[in-house]
């Protein structure tokens, strides 16, 4: 007995039915209509829910009904294929809903306070009943902290990647590489606690008459800890993509290795390295927890990152979200919109830069 006879018994092989049967679109639509009608009847008839439940139940019934009907017409395997495909499409639709809602809320609520006052003033002397107040101090803080963190993390990260690619051999390099990967997953709050117990509680009293002191610099230290592994990883990947013959050519001309790295390898990999750095900056700019723990937040403008509390945009969002004033949510959403705009500009330009990168896998 051949396979086809077992699958669909009693069918004579003719040119017409040797091709597998397809589910007609009309049947598909009919199943959908029937599913939603039944769902509406059940839900509204029994009064156990509203239209949301109708849609959910209808979709579930449609998937079940489709697999049964398709199983009768197309055979078991084709029906399974169809069901999985519908499930995958349904999951995509399901995921798009909340993500679209995030974007929509961000834009619609964030536009409320998008005015010059918001970008030009701080929260100094703004009471619960004042509708104005802005995020100038937070923007300054974010830029200073992220800038300092970049200044610390980039040289360290690039040199570390150079070690891993050009010099590192054997067990020690493998250990370093492994822990760079592990360090990528350190929670930001742990980095914040580390800088709190190391810098704020132990080192900062030396400069401040024995009193521990919050500062923007401490926040940038924590952000640098978070940026370092990302920069090492992306730079390492880019350095590995630099073709070996370029290095060999340089060595053949008698150029020492360090000069080869600085003058040949790094410039070749530069666009890719910049991309990685920008992505890590974008991630650091959005971190809230470390700033909360070591910079403390502030209402007034503090231009000096080395002394006293400082605010950052993400911390501003968090603090305004917890504020009881009825004007606080508007400020929080506008600050969130500003933060997302900053992060997205960095990310998009990094991705566009990566697209122009000539080194590729």
């Amino acid at each position: 007995m051949s396979l086809i006879e077992r699958e669909i018994p009693g069918v004579v092989m003719t040119p017409d039915n040797i091709r597998s049967k397809k589910l007609p679109v009309v049947t598909n639509v009919l199943v959908a209509v029937a599913a939603f009608v039944v769902a509406a009847a059940v839900v509204l008839g029994l009064g156990i829910g509203n239209w949301v439940l109708v849609v959910v139940l209808g979709a579930a019934l449609y998937l079940v009904g489709l697999s049964v009907v398709a199983g009768r017409i197309e055979g078991r395997r084709a029906a399974r294929n169809r069901t999985m495909k519908s499930l995958i499409y349904a999951a995509c639709l399901l995921a798009i809903l909340p993500l679209a809602s995030v974007v929509w809320t961000l834009i619609s609520k964030g536009a409320a306070r998008l005015d010059g006052d918001f970008f030009g003033t701080s929260m100094n002397n703004i009471g619960a009943r004042d509708a104005n107040g802005g995020a100038y101090h937070a923007i300054v803080g974010t830029l200073e902290q992220v800038g300092l963190a970049t200044l610390m993390a980039v040289p360290l990260g690039v040199l570390g990647a150079i070690y891993l690619v050009e010099y590192g051999r054997g067990k020690f390099a493998a250990t370093v590489r492994f822990f760079v990967d592990v360090m990528t997953g350190i929670p930001s709050i742990v980095a914040g606690l580390f800088i709190l117990s190391f810098w704020v509680l132990i080192v900062s009293p030396w400069f401040n008459d024995g009193q521990p002191r919050f500062s923007g610099f401490a926040a940038s230290l924590a952000l640098a800890v978070l940026m370092l592994p990302t920069i090492v990883r992306s730079t390492e990947e880019m350095l590995r993509l630099v073709p070996g013959p370029l290095r060999e050519g340089s060595y053949a001309l008698g150029v020492p290795q360090w000069k080869t790295i600085l003058r040949v390898v790094l410039p070749t990999a530069l666009p890719g390295i910049v991309t990685g750095v920008m992505l890590s900056i974008a991630r650091a700019a959005g971190e809230t927890a470390p700033v909360l723990l070591v910079a403390g937040g502030a209402a007034a403008i503090n231009m000096d990152p080395f002394a006293g509390n400082q605010q950052s945009l993400s911390l501003f969002v968090y603090q305004q979200a917890g504020d009881g004033s009825k004007f606080a949510p508007d400020r929080a959403w506008t600050a969130a919109l500003t933060l997302v705009a900053l992060v997205l500009v960095l990310t998009v330009s990094a991705k566009l830069l990566a697209r122009r990168n000539k080194l590729s896998r």
Partner: protein, 356 residues
């Protein structure tokens, strides 16, 4: 995953040893079998490298930068432990089993059990919701969607992975809370006999809300990692499956999923690490409670990171030490999760290199 260097780069990068071992470098090609043999070439007559050169300095500098990573990891552990010990000694309860967090009292009492439970529970809910959907989207992007749709959609997913968590937290509190509360009421009315959905309310700021917000946050990360893994499936394997008459789903089940399994596991573990360490999104969505409860819909829930963010402001010295001790526990949990994930990826990389 991109961590696979091309053959030629691997064979030559930095391994020529020209300057530091110049004499050997010149004879390198003549005696590849044994590096200890005296080189056959004329390397011996070339200038010996000086003892202190820029080369030595640069090599030392970059080695030190590489070692910095290890130094930082060790320093994190050392400093957290050193600040946690005084608080743990002042603790009047058992740190592992006490269901209370009162380190600021005159008689400080605190325990990690409820916090650790809340951390794991919210992360597991997030993964249960996010992973199947993320797999489906990854498969859609890699094997179902036409390329013109898949490329921009993948780009958007990457952008969403970059959105700061505080934004998701704010959205969860201001927008998602209402539908979740309605859904909780509905669940409680019809499925209240299941302990997970029992209780008398109030509902809304629950573990379910926190878990859903976490799920929406880890979704883009798990999706973009799994998509890369699925895209790397060898075309030959897929074509072989199709040539044997497999439908598209059978091809995915027999060729794509087995090949991508270790990568997907690693992606899920990385998502888990992200969810475990998430602070602000949970601090904004959960309402504080210090007990172990499987009830998903009643107000409550807590996590280590959210507790640190919430109670740091009014912490005394002991309180700060207690928070640092809880951070140490979180550090250990995430370290274990990440090291497992990395070990899986590394094993897979060896496998792939040998197979290639």
């Amino acid at each position: 995953m991109g961590d696979n260097p091309s053959r030629s780069a691997n064979a030559t990068a930095g391994d020529l040893g020209m300057t530091p071992r110049h004499a050997r470098g010149a004879g390198y090609g003549s005696s590849p079998s044994n590096f200890n043999e005296p080189p056959l070439g004329g390397g011996g007559v070339l200038a010996k490298k000086s003892r202190f050169s820029i080369e030595t300095g640069f090599r030392g500098l970059s080695t030190a930068s590489g070692a910095m990573v290890l130094v930082i990891i060790v320093a994190i552990a050392v400093f957290l432990i050193s600040k946690a010990i005084p608080a743990l000694q002042a603790n009047n309860g058992d740190f592992l089993t006490q269901f209370e967090w009162a380190p600021n009292d005159a008689r400080p009492t605190f325990g990690i059990a409820a916090l650790a439970f809340g951390t794991v529970l919210s992360s597991i809910i997030a993964l249960i919701v996010a992973v199947p959907i993320a797999m489906a989207i990854a498969l859609f992007l890699s094997h179902y969607a036409p390329k013109r749709l898949a490329t921009p959609l993948g780009f958007v997913i990457d952008l969403l992975a970059a959105v700061p968590s505080v934004v998701f937290g704010l959205w969860g509190r201001d927008v998602l809370q209402v539908p979740v509360r309605d859904f909780s009421l509905w669940l409680n009315e019809y499925f209240g006999w299941i302990p997970l959905f029992g209780g008398d309310g109030p509902f809304g700021q629950s573990v379910m809300l926190g878990g859903l917000v976490l799920a929406i946050m880890v979704l883009p990360i798990v999706t973009s990692l799994s998509r890369e893994v699925f895209q790397q499936t060898p075309g030959m394997n897929e074509e072989a499956a199709l040539a044997l008459g497999a439908t598209r789903w059978e091809m995915i089940r027999t060729a794509v999923l087995p090949y991508g399994k270790p990568g997907v596991i690693a992606a899920v573990m990385l998502g888990l690490g992200r969810a475990l360490g998430e602070t602000i999104a949970l601090a904004l969505t959960l309402s504080v409670a210090f007990d172990i409860s499987f009830n998903l819909i009643e107000n409550g829930g807590n996590s280590i990171a959210a507790n640190i963010a919430n109670s740091f402001g009014e912490a005394t010295d002991t309180g700060r030490g207690a928070l640092i001790a809880s951070g140490l526990v979180l550090f250990t949990i995430t370290l274990v999760v990440n090291m497992t994930a990395r070990a899986i990826i590394y094993r897979r990389r060896e496998f792939r290199d040998n197979a290639a």
